[in-house]
Amino acid sequence: METIVSIRPFLAVLVSILAVPLIVSTRRTNFREGWTFFAAFAKFSIIASMTPVILDGVEIEYTIAQVLPSVAIKLKVDAFGMLFALVSSFLWIVTSAYSIGYMRRLKEHSQTRYFCYFALSLSATIGVAFSANLLTLYLFYEMLSFATYPLVTHHQDMEGRSSGRKYLLFIVGSSIGLVLPAMLFIYHMTGTLEFAQQGFIAGIVPPKLIWILVLLFVFGFAKAAVMPFHSWLPAAMVAPTPVSALLHAVAVVKVGVFCILRVLTGVFGTQLLFSSQMDTVVLYLASFTIIAASLVALSQDSLKSRLAYSTIGQLSYIILSAALLSPKGMIGGMMHIAMHAFGKITLFFCAGAIFVATGTKNISQMVGIGKRMPVTLSCFFIGSLSVIGIPPGGGFISKWYLILGTLEADQRFMLFILLSSSLLNAAYFLPIIYKAFFCTPEESLFENKIDEAPPWCLVPLTITAICSIFLFFYPEPFFSLAKIVSVGIFSGQ
């Protein structure tokens, strides 16, 4: 795999950190938001500019600092990181626009702080995407945890405080208590932490310890919300909806999943997972989470909670895809990172738009809302199609490959899990839409007058909904990137 050295990955990470002083010092709110947009566009452009290189099969690396004798803070852009970075940076642009509509309509306090920490969180996310070794991954993972805390607890009320505590307990507690010792143990045994195509601990770490290490990482990266380390996610829904949308549907949770996948493939390697039978263990952990989360989602009345549990389930799809150890499954999982991101963010944007326009948070109070907010609810419909996996939602492509993956890996039980959870997804999404559009005038809680969310909210959610459909027809560059990842991991076998 050819590698070139370029400062672009570092610039991609840095650009939003550099925007922070600009955001803080600007008095006029429009200019302040302008800096956020500038940073978001700059970030996306830098990342997009690296895509052709990656699609050619070349990787980009950059060492930031040699902090320890054999480990550096180092960035390396490969297809996997590129896929994730493209999704997050593009969606930040859209979310920033949405934030403007949301925060201003609700006259939220401390908006400067909000935009600053958002910028920092995106820096950390791209840092995770481009990490070349476990130390750098850990560094940006922790940075993300601490940068998102003020966002989750933005409202500074009692609820925010207790959710913040849960957030810290699960996310920081697991990263310091589980990931850190695992990482140091691996360093002690192997002397390095660099991710390698086929992993690097095979043969050096005794088999018994492989089990413990895998579990430490799967649960340690609690951002991936593998049960039982998932409760922070519904609790984090107290955050303003743009936070829930980008961070807890796209950035934070995908970082968790990304880290697990990165460690499973880059530290352990598919061969080792297979020979130690950890792939089976991870499959069952993931499938339990998928089904349990989908079942709990059915019982949630708060829309954001339902979406949160849906996210928990969808994340484990991606973990499942990695544990299948099949090329098609891997493509499916990678694609799902992108498809789910677009679909879920649309759903969250809609939930926020509903709250901004009508003040309702609960599904039971959204009977007939389709009459008042047809655009929003139509986009909600499109988003749910994508998450359920029905064409023309983009999620169909990723689920299709996942199903092919289960057949390829001869895991019939997993196929059953995937199909039943898709049914459950439909069961908790479609009734919302049905109730919103098709109800009698007596039942409807809303007048038949169209009164949509503000345009700054409406346009972003329409954009992401259209993207979800667009990706069904033309899933590039994600599909090519996913193929490169899959080939890279499985060709060595």
Partner: protein, 499 residues
């Protein structure tokens, strides 16, 4: 000129102390400036010395030109070279940062305060730079006595707390002296390296063993290792802020340095680390210190008191890391001397800033501090993240070495204690963040206008903020330059025989 750097470090502040005292009677404003100049010269000399050491490995200086074992020799190698620079930097930065605080608290007694301050620095840096075991005792007493006086200058219970410290500290110093006395009886010399060359012949002697034990005990008392830590919380809590941000970062860390020096250079590893049982038991003692310090910190209701218990846990890190008796552990211990001194300075400076603006430091007084003092609290967040051990702050890297050392030695109790302490620190510091961030609870949805936020802004003056920002930035710089520190300096401070 530059060959006298070792002397300058001690002599300049010593002489300056007398001038400051006099200026305290004649013209009080001069006191600060004399102290600043003296400490700046010390800092410059320490830097110069470190550069010399990097070139020549060792710098030896015979006071008055008299050679040992009759004369006093100062000896600077990799180990104390770096500790000297850190101590001088902390003393100097703290002096600048606390100028306003001192003027506010000690208007009449500025002269004595600065004189004591500078004498404390003399003593502390002398301990680090000397190569003579008895000279170390002399300077230890200078540092201790001035420390007691500085602490006693606080309000209400300060005198009693200081008296308690006097008792325990004097016992500790006396034990050390007794140990050195026995070594003198056994070897006939007071020069550390001279003793080191004679000792191997008499390692099996009971006198040497006794000297080892009693020296170590004295040092453990002085560094507040559990269970001899009881003097620390009260002394640190009731001390005036400008004094404590000098004493807290330096005293206990320098005592850890002395322990490392005595055990590695005087007794040498072949004696000190001979018994695995002894090594492991000291690590377990450190584990208890870490766990007890962390748990006791949880029940405190005031900032400085909580921080002093965190300090007690941090001592456990260094002692435990050293007694792991492997390269990673000792590297971690030495690195942590540097890092912990910096982190301690950062958080105690913040405490000083808070006390400058707010009547007290109990948790009730900390409400809404993020809004009121955003810069100080920002620095506090960096310091807290370093104490918790979050990369890229320096605290993470010393934990890195300590934990890998623990894994290498198979001492998983120590590893568990370190992780436990990190998690407890998350709780401790986020509790404070919560109080400063969430309380007082109010309806904040009024409007996002910036005027609202500006009305309550009341951070410490620039003279206090700028040094604090430098220290906070330093925590990250130290972290990123860990590799340079370890490969260029610390690596050579550890004798070759240790793996």
């Amino acid at each position: 000129m530059s060959q006298h750097f070792p002397a300058f470090i001690i002599v300049i502040p010593l002489i300056a102390a007398f001038f400051i005292f006099t200026a305290g009677w004649l013209k009080r404003t001069y006191c600060f400036y004399i102290a600043a100049v003296a400490l700046a010269i010390s800092l410059f000399s320490s830097f110069g010395l470190l550069l010399q050491v990097l070139q020549n490995k060792v710098v030896v200086y015979h006071f008055g030109g008299w050679s040992p074992p009759w004369g006093i020799a100062y000896r600077v190698d990799y180990l104390n070279g770096i500790v000297l620079v850190v101590s001088a930097a902390i003393a100097f930065l703290n002096l600048i940062a606390t100028k306003k605080s001192v003027e506010k608290e000690f208007i009449e007694r500025v002269g004595p305060f600065y004189a004591l301050y500078v004498l404390f620095v003399t003593g502390t840096m002398g301990i680090v730079v000397t190569g003579d075991a008895f000279n170390l005792y002399v300077l230890l007493e200078i540092a201790s006595l001035t420390g007691y006086a500085l602490i006693g200058m606080g309000t209400e219970h300060a005198a009693l707390a200081s008296l308690n410290y006097v008792f325990m500290g004097t016992i500790g110093a006396s034990f050390y002296l007794l140990g050195i006395g026995y070594l003198y009886i056994a070897t006939g010399s007071l020069n550390m390296f001279d003793i080191a060359s004679i000792l191997p012949n008499i390692f099996q002697s009971n006198v040497v063993l006794f000297a080892f034990v009693i020296c170590l005990t004295g040092l453990f008392i002085k560094m507040a290792l559990f269970p001899m830590h009881t003097w620390l919380p009260n002394a640190y809590t009731y001390s005036p802020s400008p004094a404590i941000s000098l004493i807290a970062p330096l005293t206990t860390k320098v005592m850890v340095y002395v322990m490392i020096r005595i055990l590695l250079s005087v007794f040498t590893p072949s004696f000190s680390f001979k018994s695995m049982a002894v090594n492991t038991s000291f690590v377990w003692l450190a584990v208890i210190a870490i766990v007890v310090g962390s748990i006791l910190a949880l029940s405190q209701q005031s900032l400085k008191r909580m921080l002093s218990y965190v300090m007690i846990a941090e001592i456990g890190y260094m002692v435990g890391g050293f007694w792991l008796a492997n390269r990673a552990g000792i590297t971690g211990a030495i690195l942590h001397i540097i890092n912990d001194a910096a982190m301690t300075l950062c958080v105690f400076l913040v405490a000083g800033n808070i006390l400058y603006r707010v009547p007290g430091d109990s948790f009730d007084n900390l409400k809404g501090l993020f809004r009121k003092m955003p810069f100080s609290m920002g620095a506090f967040v960096v310091g807290a993240l370093s104490i918790i051990g979050v990369p890229p702050t320096c605290g993470f890297f010393s934990k890195w070495y300590l934990i890998t050392g623990g894994i290498a030695a198979g001492h998983y109790g120590f590893v568990a204690a370190l992780l436990f302490s990190s998690l407890v620190n998350v709780v401790l510091f986020f509790r404070i963040f919560e109080i400063g961030y969430f309380e007082p609870f109010g309806d904040l949805h009024i409007s996002g206008s910036m005027d609202e936020e500006e009305k309550t802004f009341d951070d410490a003056p620039l003279g206090m903020l700028v040094p604090l920002m430098i220290v906070a930035a330093g925590l990250i710089v130290l972290g990123i330059y860990t590799d340079t520190l370890v490969t260029k300096v610390i690596q050579f401070a550890i004798p070759g025989g240790i793996s």
